[in-house]
Each structure stands twice: as structure tokens, then as C-alpha cells.
Amino acid sequence: MQTNHDQAIIQPRRSFWTTFLIGVGIMAAVDEIVFHQLLSWHHFYDQATPAISLMSDGLLHAAELIALVAGFFMLADLRHRHAFSVKYAQAGFFLGLGCFQVFDGLVDHKVLRLHQIRYGVDLLPYDLVWNLVGFILILIGVGLLSRARKFTAIKATDQNH
């Protein structure tokens, strides 16, 4: 009997988006668990949030939960098919982490004003650190992605020779 391994086709694009979803879900969960629950820097509801922003909050919350569950099942599926590309997956994970961090920092905190990072303090350093960390994560992701692309390009030329 032939195993699936022999005929496996690596799926770089799918590997990338799978871990991107997981990255988004994990960063959102870290935000909720660490900052809401453990530090209680921001709260369940902060008295300044209008009803319409609560709706977008609900949509975001649902998206992150589904991203987490979907991501892990897709990861398991890829592994079972031997179609998982580790290099693309690493890039996707860091980009997922970073994109959520920056989205949360700019859109949620500043545009929608869902909540601030912390109350009763000068916000500027908090906002700077928050978004800077996000941008660094995105840069790491971009670096990993170009490395993954180069690696596949080299492999492809090797096979051609």
C-alpha cells in the first residue's frame, strides 16, 4: 500500500493562511486573557463605549474565536496530508500576530475607541509600545516570508538541473 507521503503536494499558500489565522486568534486571546482578565487594565465594558461599537466588538470576538478553531483544524488537516510547509507557516504565524496587534492598536483603540489600553495614565507610551511591538512582529513575518520564497525558488532550480 502506498502512503500519502509519496504523493504529497506541499501547500505553501494554505500553510501560510492556516497559521496566520492561528496567529490572529492567539494574539486576540492573549489580549483578552492577559490585559482584560489578569491585569484588568481594561474591562468588560468601560462606560464610554457606545452601543454601536459593542456590535463591532462582538463581531471581532466571534471572528477571533472562529479563527482559532478553524486554524487548528486546518493545521491538523494539512499535517495529515503531509502538505504542511513549515517555513511559510512560520511567516504566517508572525504576520497574524503582528497584524492583529496593529489592528487592535489602531482601529479598536483609536478609530472605534472600543477601549484604551489602560486608564488613568498617560496613554502615549502605552500606545507607542503596543503598536511598535505589532510592527516588529510584522517585520519578522515579512522577513520569514521572503526567506521561505527564496528557499522554494532555490529548490525549484535544483530540481530543474
Partner: protein, 277 residues
């Protein structure tokens, strides 16, 4: 409690009686299947038993008067009866078991009912969502909740609605039972997403604006109940999402075995759900 007339006592134990009958019927049919040498998963039996246990706890007769005074208890009941128990019951595939165990003519009738227009209409994920979460919006954002506090019949009706609407919703999203006209996976995923979002939204609205209004409950109690609803609802919805993606995963893996290397899109409908049962 002593001043209750015997009739009234019987009435309060009616939910427990119904659960017991349901459980007995399921167990009898499942054991019948195994005795005939046909497969019936132990996990499904376990799932049905846990669903019934959750219902027993949620519908404990002595809990009813207490829940009238404390909305947090009402919310625990709501979570058990309307979200956790229905999922466990749906995953036990009771309709599949009934179709297999009952005489052919009755089974055919059940299948006809399942495929009929009204069932098709009501079991669409969107209508199930409207009945389930929409019903909650009506309950908590209108004077309906206050009415259920004074009227015992309304109270029982409310619990029945929680159970039926919750069951309908879980079945329409991720039930293993036959669903001849179930829409594509993409549609069900969007509805699941909407249900998570609207449930979270409702509980935050209740927390922020102290709904349900005109009740004897103090503000802190309502806020605690809203938080229970938010986090408890989260756990229930994650479990439903896991059931949904686990079904997709099984389908996807079966396609690997069948077609070896062909790739199947996540948006493919669950063809196996139509054929298998």
C-alpha cells in the same frame, strides 16, 4: 413548599419525567442496535446521557423559585437548557437512531417529515438563528422577561423554547442527523459567526444598559448574569464550532483516502451528510 397542592407538585416534576422518558427511549434503541450486531457509537450514547444530565440539573424543580429571585441562576439555567444540553443531544444523533430502530413505514414517515417544506424552512441555519438568538433579544430587551417571572406557564414555555430553539440551531449548524436540504458549509460558517457575535453583543448590551428592565433584580446581579452569559455562551459556541470543524475534518480526511492527492476546498458542502444516513 408545603402549601402546594399535589397537582401542582406533579406539574413541577413534569420536565424530569419527560427527560427520563427521552433517555429511556434512546438507551433502549441504542442497546437494541448493539444487540442486533449493528454499530452504534458509545460516544453518541455518552453524549445523549450527558445532555440529559445537563437538562436534569437545568430543570431541577427546586431551582425554579430560586431563579425567579436571582437572575444569575436564571442565566445558568438558560446556558444549560438552551446551549450546552442541545449540543450534547444533537451530537448523539437521535433521529438517525430512531430511523434505524423504528419499523420501515415509520422511518419513511420521519424521513418525509425531515424533507418536507416546513421543516426545510425552519431548519435553515438563518431561521434557526432567528428563533434561537432572536428569541433571546425579544426575551431580554422587552417586558417579556418580567412576564415570565409572574406566570409559571410562561416559565415552562420559555424553557421549552430554549431547548427546542437551541437544538434546532445546533442541528442546523453541525448535527450528524440527516438534513436533506442543508445549505453549504460556507453559509453555515457565516451563520455560526453571526450567532457568536450577536450573542456577545446582547450580553454586553445587557451589562451596559441593565437589561432586562423593570425586574426586581439589583444592577450588580444583572451585570453578573450578563457576564455569565458572555463567557458561558463563548464556551458553548466554541464547542459548537469544534463540532462543525470536526465534521469538516472527517470529511476532508475521508476524501484523502478516496482520491489520494486531490485537494478539497473548505467550502465544499458535506456531501457525506446526505449519503451516509
Amino acid at each position: 413548599m408545603l402549601e402546594h397542592a399535589p397537582q401542582e407538585n406533579l406539574f413541577t416534576y413534569l420536565p424530569w419525567l419527560f427527560i427520563s422518558l427521552m433517555l429511556l427511549a434512546y438507551l433502549r434503541a441504542a442497546i437494541g442496535q448493539i444487540h442486533q450486531g449493528r454499530q452504534w457509537s458509545r460516544w453518541r450514547i455518552l453524549s445523549f446521557i450527558s445532555g440529559c444530565l445537563l437538562l436534569y440539573v437545568g430543570l431541577t424543580p427546586s431551582l425554579q423559585p430560586m431563579a425567579h429571585h436571582d437572575i444569575r441562576l436564571h442565566m445558568v439555567q438558560h446556558l444549560l437548557i438552551g446551549m450546552f444540553a442541545p449540543l450534547a443531544l444533537v451530537l448523539a444523533a437521535p433521529v438517525t437512531l430512531a430511523v434505524r430502530s423504528l419499523p420501515t413505514s415509520t422511518s419513511r414517515f420521519i424521513m418525509q417529515v425531515m424533507g418536507s417544506k416546513p421543516v426545510r424552512l425552519i431548519s435553515h441555519p438563518l431561521s434557526a438563528l432567528l428563533l434561537n438568538i432572536g428569541g433571546m433579544y425579544v426575551l431580554y430587551l422587552t417586558p417579556l422577561y418580567a412576564t415570565t417571572l409572574s406566570n409559571p406557564y410562561m416559565h415552562h414555555l420559555l424553557h421549552l423554547h430554549f431547548l427546542l430553539a437551541g437544538y434546532l440551531f445546533c442541528w442546523s449548524i453541525a448535527g450528524p442527523d440527516p438534513a436533506p436540504h442543508r445549505p453549504a458549509m460556507r453559509v453555515r460558517l457565516i451563520v455560526l459567526f453571526l450567532s457568536m457575535a450577536t450573542h456577545a453583543y446582547l450580553s454586553k448590551l445587557m451589562y451596559a444598559y441593565e437589561w432586562p428592565k423593570n425586574t426586581p433584580h439589583p444592577t450588580e446581579q444583572i451585570q453578573a448574569a450578563a457576564q455569565l452569559m458572555y463567557y458561558g455562551g463563548d464556551v458553548a459556541e466554541i464547542l459548537l464550532a469544534i463540532a462543525f470543524f470536526a465534521a469538516w475534518f472527517r470529511f476532508s480526511q475521508s476524501q484523502v483516502k478516496k482520491h489520494k492527492k486531490r485537494w478539497f476546498s473548505i467550502s465544499k458542502p458535506f456531501a457525506y451528510l446526505f449519503s451516509k444516513n
